[in-house]
């Protein structure tokens, strides 16, 4: 198989959410063949606008709920069980090394952290996947990122991926695969790796992928103890379009300024930027280690006067774990609000919309014009460490 070749391949999982699934479900009606290819290999997660924010969202959720009921979809996750899909799917053991996964959500590329090939598609591809269990792909070329060194105590996966997007640009990996390798990966836990692969799309990438190592195996032992998988490795003579070496020990906390994820700066280039809101959460950074880092920096401190800080654990399990570890108490005592899992503010849905001229430091993934609210509001993308330090300082602040 070579780059550029068009292939048809069998799917291990087809994923959709409350925004994209209703469009796919409507498309399903056009198929001659009725039903789904495998009710075990479809995952439908209500996560974007739930608990329903308005009547239209409620109708969309009902559409997905009815479809799941009618077809006996095993992995349907409703309010109470749901989490943000890209945190929930790995946690449920539904993404394994070597799997081929498509999802009608651009951040489906997250599961490459576990050695799966996973990529975002639209609703029609999702419908075709649900009906036939197959999809067409153009074999992508690849970029290789060799990671060396050990990151500093407040440097996270987010800093790495923002640094890379700043380096290669928002279309630097267009149509291509981003492969992460090298001795430095041992210092990235699964949460950090998921942050990195999650944002491959922000460089235009088709997917992001890590090799399966001891860190991956330990995680899978926990979430999918009885499941068999076949890890896929890059060939020794694999051809890469470009290769980069990144020294993790030299990375600094990094912030992407409005209005593109490639507008990255480190704190030596950042002046005084007062802020109005902080969001800590999303499929990118709502994991337990993200919340631990944020809580560590907020313990015994207060969110600055005039700043709202919204914390959103990505799944029910993470929420409960954060509660048991005392992180939620830390956040509330610091003056944060804590929400049930939702994509909400990340895409300007609800739970933290920005007014005209407001500035938000956010651990989410996109800072496009109008993404979180008013078209002249501003989003600064950063790690949970930078976000927590900034919430306390009332302005963009370097942790530690």
């Amino acid at each position: 198989m070579t780059a550029g070749q068009l292939i048809e391949a069998s799917l291990d999982l087809v994923l959709g959410n409350d925004i994209t699934s209703p469009v796919a479900i409507k498309e399903m009606e056009k198929f001659k063949k009725e039903g789904v290819f495998d009710k075990e290999k479809i995952a439908l997660v209500l996560d974007h606008f739930v608990p329903a924010k308005d009547i239209k969202s409620a109708e969309n959720c009902k559409c997905v709920r009815d479809f799941s009921g009618a077809h006996g979809i095993t992995n349907f996750f409703d309010v109470g069980e749901m989490g943000i899909e890209h945190a929930l799917i790995p946690e449920k053991g539904l993404a394994l090394p070597g799997d081929l996964i498509i999802g009608a959500d651009s951040h489906t590329c997250t599961y490459g952290a576990l050695g799966a090939f996973s990529t975002g598609v639209g609703s029609t591809d999702m419908a075709a996947g649900m009906a036939t269990g197959k999809s067409w792909f153009k074999v992508p070329g690849a970029l290789r990122f060799e990671l060396t060194g050990k990151p500093g105590p407040y440097v996270m996966g987010k800093d790495l991926i923002l640094h890379i997007i700043g380096l290669i640009g928002v279309d630097g990996a267009l149509y291509r695969s981003m492969e992460f390798t090298g001795e430095g990966i041992q210092y990235l836990n699964i949460d950090d790796r998921m942050t990195v692969t999650n944002m491959a799309i922000e460089a235009g990438g088709k997917n992001g992928i890590f090799p399966v190592d001891e860190v991956t195996k330990a995680y899978l032992e926990e979430v999918a103890p009885c499941k068999a998988y076949t890890a896929v490795e890059a060939d020794a003579d694999a051809v890469y379009d470009e290769s980069y070496t990144i020294d993790l020990s030299a990375l600094q906390p990094t912030v992407a300024f409005p209005h593109l994820p490639e507008n990255t700066k480190t704190f030596d280039e950042i002046g005084d930027i007062p802020i109005d809101q902080v969001v800590i959460g999303s499929c990118t950074n709502g994991h337990i280690s993200d919340l631990r880092m944020a809580a560590k920096l907020m313990a015994g401190k207060r969110v600055a006067s005039g700043v709202r800080c919204i914390v959103i654990p990505a799944t029910q399990k993470i929420y409960l774990q954060a509660l048991e570890e005392g992180l939620i108490k830390t956040f509330i005592e610091a003056g944060c609000v804590v929400s049930t899992p939702t994509c909400g503010p990340c895409l300007g849905g609800y739970m933290g919309i920005l007014a005209s001229g407001e500035r938000c430091v956010s651990t989410t993934n996109r800072n496009f014009v109008g993404r979180m609210g008013a078209i002249d509001s501003e989003i600064y993308l950063a790690s949970p460490a930078v976000a927590a330090a900034s919430a306390v300082a009332g302005r963009l602040a370097c942790p530690g």
Partner: protein, 163 residues
């Protein structure tokens, strides 16, 4: 395949799906309802000015960001007959083919064609003609596999035809 001919709406690099159709309208699923908000965060006049057959021209990485199929659906339902860009973000590219919105990559045309020009596109050959300036550009015609999907009227019709 037929030709497209219309007046150009011109945009720059990295037009993302959040500005093509902002998420505050994503609970809408009806194509005309989506078209009513198409491009509103970067071009408030678009919905008032666009006519059936008009052409959108943009530069690099058109349609980056979210996988929302609502974006090409909104563009198609607004009457746009073809989008010409230097490059397209890959999910948008797939979605456009799958729903039958013609798109064509051509760097030179994307840079040189101006807003308001009258442009025609021959889908079979990939030839783009700017009738206002008289210049022609060779865009990349679709590979046969994708032409099959477009000619069938989208991915689902193609799957039905081959079933």
């Amino acid at each position: 395949m037929e030709k497209a001919r219309g007046t150009v709406f011109k945009y720059g690099d990295n037009v993302d799906t959040d500005v093509i159709i902002p998420a505050r309208h994503l609970a809408i699923t009806d194509p005309q309802g989506l078209a009513a908000h198409c491009m509103e965060d970067i071009d408030k006049e678009f919905v008032n000015k666009v006519k059936a057959g008009d052409i959108m021209v943009a530069e690099k990485n058109f349609g980056c960001g979210s996988s929302r199929e609502h974006a090409p659906i909104a563009i198609k339902a607004s009457g746009i007959s073809v989008v010409i860009a230097e490059t397209f973000a890959r999910i948008f590219y797939r979605n456009a083919i799958n729903i039958g919105l013609p798109i064509i990559e051509c760097a030179e045309a994307a840079r040189e064609i101006s807003a308001g020009d009258t442009v025609s596109v021959d889908f079979d050959s990939g030839l783009i003609t700017d009738e206002t300036t008289g210049k022609t550009y060779q865009g990349q015609a679709f590979p046969p596999f994708m032409q099959e999907i477009i000619n069938a009227g989208g991915l689902i019709n193609r799957i039905n035809a081959n079933a």
